[in-house]
């Protein structure tokens, strides 16, 4: 029996700050950057108001905020930070240090385009660039999921079989700054669910001396990396266990992905983030016309549950994989590459197409999604309706690129 939720309305950034208040982590080093700035702003207000006793560390850059997070987490303190876009890029070097030292730091990432041109709006280029840094990555469609994912994050990251840092991602402005309805959980059951942090090894442990981040010679380094990879592999089981427990608490179901009208779908889209709400509205419209369309919304991208995704898509005739970041590899985006590879391994027979959309906050309408499904149907029928490098809603003289 789940607990009685509290109906509220708030933006995605407020929702995340509320979750942080309920968790009351030990340390938050942060440096402001649009559109995630509000998160440290709200948290520091909560600290000033005496609502939580988190130690806030103002720093001079994102490289420093992640470095301070590493120091504090290694010392044994539950730590988080928040950033976006170039802020994440500036953390690049130390992201790997956090992951390889098996430090379960939480990073609230409000996804924003990397430069250039300079742009403040939603894009996944920041987190996709860091997809191979060893961090867990969980994405949200709306404020509710950003809140729920934050509450589950430490349980996954700190699990003794995982011990990896975690990025909780949401779309800049589209969810971070949109006020929407949300159902919060009461403080006491949240505290009980998240629990206290008792790491096995940490720098301030009196009766154990240890080094964090020393040099490793070649005969040992490769084994360390393989051991780190095992944490990522183990995370799959833990993510599902935590989700199951969270469902008992909240009544809300989570997994690696959400299938919407997917079971009998002939034509499916695969996507991440806020666009999935828009896709669901398009699906309802097309289903009413008898079209067998569906959605696979990716929640967990690291670890990459390729087998599960492919299995869910195995009966589709055509699958469109949407990327909110440009791969600059002359082929397409990272979600497209990885999902297609997973489908190949699982011997899926569906036609696939990778479509770039929504760069730098370019809006996606229900009618855009309907157009893509229409084209997927034609693709399945053997028509070559997508150009060699499809971009949704692109304004270009070469129409073959435009979806």
């Amino acid at each position: 029996m789940s607990v009685q939720g509290i109906p509220q309305r708030m933006s995605g950034n407020e929702a995340v700050a509320e979750a942080i208040r309920q968790i009351n982590p030990d340390v938050m080093p942060a440096f402001p950057i649009t559109p995630s700035t509000e998160i440290p702003q709200f948290v520091s207000s909560m600290i000033s108001n005496g609502q939580i006793d988190t130690e806030f560390i103002p720093v001079e850059s994102e490289h420093s905020s992640m470095s301070a997070a590493i120091g504090s987490e290694a010392a044994g303190a539950r730590t988080l930070t928040a950033t976006s876009s170039c802020g994440l890029a500036f953390m690049w070097e130390v992201l790997y240090v956090a992951a390889s030292n098996r430090l379960p730091i939480m990073l609230e990432l409000v996804n924003r385009a990397l430069s250039g041109p300079i742009n403040i709006n939603a894009e996944h280029s920041d987190s996709m660039g860091a997809r191979d840094s060893g961090w867990l990555q969980i994405y949200a469609e709306n404020n509710q999921e950003a809140y729920d994912n934050t509450l589950q994050a430490y349980r996954i990251a700190e699990h003794p079989d995982v011990k990896l840092p975690i990025m909780v991602c949401q779309d800049g402005f589209i969810t971070s700054h949109a006020v929407e309805n949300i159902t919060l959980l009461p403080d006491a059951p949240v505290k009980e669910f998240v629990g206290e942090y008792h790491p096995e090894h940490y720098l301030l442990k009196e009766d154990e001396t240890m080094a964090v981040g020393p040099y490793a010679v070649s005969p040992y380094c490769m084994e360390a990396k393989r051991a780190q990879a095992q944490g990522m592999i183990n995370a799959k089981k833990v993510i599902l266990e935590v989700a199951e427990e969270f469902e008992k608490l909240s009544g809300r179901k989570y997994g690696f992905y959400e299938g919407y009208c997917l079971e009998d779908a002939d034509y499916a889209l695969v996507a991440i983030g806020s666009v999935c709400g828009t896709i669901k509205d398009a699906i309802d419209k097309l289903r009413a016309e008898g079209k067998k369309v569906g959605l696979l919304k990716i929640r967990v991208f690291r670890p990459f549950p390729g087998e599960e995704f492919a299995n869910a898509l195995k009966n589709c005739k055509a699958v469109g994989i949407l990327d909110r970041s440009e791969g600059y590899n002359s082929v397409g985006g990272p979600v497209g590459a990885e999902v297609t590879a997973a489908m190949y391994r699982a011997k899926c027979q569906a036609e696939t197409v990778n479509i770039i959309y929504g760069l730098s906050g370019r809006d996606v309408r229900v009618s855009d999604v309907e157009r893509v499904y229409e084209k997927l149907e034609k693709l399945a029928a053997g028509e070559n309706v997508f150009g060699p490098y499809p971009y949704l809603g692109l304004r270009s003289a070469d129409e073959s690129d435009c979806v």
């Binding site: 700054h177 006020v179 309805n181 709400g277 309408r365 229900v366």
Partner: protein, 190 residues
């Protein structure tokens, strides 16, 4: 029946269009509605045109796109009529509300043949008489509630009082002026 009402706000950075959109969503939420209130930023600077949006519905709102076929449009600054296509997609069963010192006859030629209702209000006058400062978003919020009927006006006034009492807990002297601005705006809009 389609219970969804969509409102698009056109303002300039610093005029409070985003705040007004969020306040409207807030009040509708308190009445048990599903809401969405969000801004669309261009370059972030004072005076640049900005757009803000409201969706108010009896059902869950999932769509995350901007609003292209609004039921209502609010123009917080009539100089925008020269540069922004404010009536784009506006439903003719709906209405447009413009803050202006001009007459309806002077405004209508700038609305690209819009066939629906046109309402105007002199928010500067309302602000001058009630607030002593120019914060056009407060009167525009009351005026669009009156024009759209999306919330019953008296219910809106009462909820705004609660909300403003909370917001201005440390500046109670501001409350009266704002409440007067809301009421006067409802009388002045036509």
């Amino acid at each position: 029946m389609n219970s969804l009402t969509e409102i698009r706000w056109h303002g300039r950075g610093g005029q409070g269009a985003k705040t007004a959109a969020l306040l409207l969503a807030d009040v509708a939420f308190q009445l048990g509605k599903h809401v969405q209130g969000f801004p669309e930023y261009g370059p972030e600077r004072m005076g640049a045109p900005i757009t803000a949006y409201d969706r108010i519905s009896d059902n869950q709102i999932r769509v995350h796109s901007n609003i292209y076929e609004p039921d209502y449009v609010v123009v917080v600054d009539d100089t925008l009529l020269e540069s922004v296509d404010v009536t784009a997609g506006l439903k003719k069963e709906g209405a447009i509300l413009v803050n202006t010192t001009k007459s309806k006859e002077e405004i209508i030629p700038h609305l690209k043949g819009y066939e629906g209702e046109v309402h105007i209000i002199d928010a500067r006058k309302v602000c001058h008489e009630t607030l002593g400062k120019y914060f056009p978003n407060t009167p525009m919020l009351a005026a669009i509630v009156k024009v759209s009927g999306v919330i019953e006006p008296e219910t809106f006034i009462n909820l705004m009082r609660e909300s403003l009492e909370h917001k201005f807990a440390k500046k109670p002297e501001v409350l009266d002026g704002n409440m007067k601005a809301l009421r006067l705006a409802m009388e002045e809009v036509h």
